[in-house]
């Protein structure tokens, strides 16, 4: 269960980011990128995340994990191929060893999706991704 430790590290990183923000935004989603050629199981990570965040400021925040496939580049054939994890890693065409991994080793906190209610009240609530300039323009009336 090293996912437990990784989740601890993830929470610390997000906490650092949160405390560096002057207006303490509401975190909605954390986006991770996890390669398929790592020792990390997304299901275990999700479970550890739910358990470890339930009583802290990240409770209810969604963890979105994007998996990236294992892709290697064969220098002999000058082409990419997708090794079959657990079965064969060498190039299916020329049998050269897998040396150059292009994708699949990622273990990354990609981005934090957050919302801020500061200065936006009264700009209308219909469009979740309303661009800021529209709000500043004040073309809408306060529904409240």
């Amino acid at each position: 269960m090293h996912e437990t430790d990784m989740t601890k590290a993830l929470i610390l990183t997000v906490k650092d980011w949160y405390h560096s923000q002057p207006d303490k935004p509401k975190i909605e989603k954390i986006h991770l990128i996890v390669g398929q050629f790592t020792c990390v199981e997304p299901v275990s990570l999700q479970f550890a995340w739910e358990v470890q965040t339930q009583n802290i400021f990240l409770a209810g925040v969604e963890l979105v994990i994007k998996e990236t496939p294992l892709i290697a580049f064969c220098h002999s054939c000058q082409q990419e191929y997708q090794p079959e994890i657990g079965l064969q890693y060498s190039c299916p065409d020329c049998n050269s060893p897998m040396e150059d991994i292009k994708s699949g080793r990622e273990l990354k906190i990609d981005r934090i999706e957050y919302s801020s209610t500061n200065n936006l009240k009264g700009c209308g609530g219909e469009q979740p991704f309303a661009p800021t300039d529209k709000c500043i323009g004040g073309s809408r009336t306060d529904p409240n």
Binding site: R111, Y114, K121, G125, A130
Partner: protein, 222 residues
Amino acid sequence: MHQTFDAALEINLLHANQEGADHNRQHFDQWGITCLNIMSSPGAGKTVLLEQTLKALKNKFKIAVIEGDMTTELDADRLRKYNVPVIPINTGRSCHLDSKMVAGGIHILEHQYNPTDFDLVFVENVGNLVCPAEFEVGEHAKIALLSVTEGEDKPLKYPVMFQEADCLLITKIDLAPYLDIDLDRITENVRQMNPQVTIISVSAKTGEGLEEWFAWVSDRIK
């Protein structure tokens, strides 16, 4: 009003561990120590390999061992018989050593001994083919053990460990005649993903292959 924003972080999930590992390595470098991280499944023969290695090399090099063990000091007690410092780290229920745990061992090495006296530190990791592969501890080289009783398919099933290894020791080679195991197949399976790895077949019981292993270790010393 609800507006969402993105903050791009692009931070490695293991960056804290990696920073710790780099810090540990700086200490080792500053003291002129080579650190080797020994990893395998439980029972592949890490401790007996270290016993043989200490016996053969302790008069040639000044050696210490940082010993990861989940809850006991059984392995540490075996190695202490060779009169080298053995620093036990009980990992509790954790399945691997991380750089912070090893930093604790380095702290003891620094304060209870004179670290500049040492040439070589072995880190015996927790027996596990999965987790230790992702957690660098500050080593200069990774050594993976695979015993012949585990089967030739293990490198295919636990590829990260074998892909990361600088040296693979195929252990318990004395048992090979009693098993339906294809040693060439183990080598082929590992080389598929790690063509540069040094592969040495050893038996800690009969001594077969150990000289080659000792020579490999000696070549790593700064």
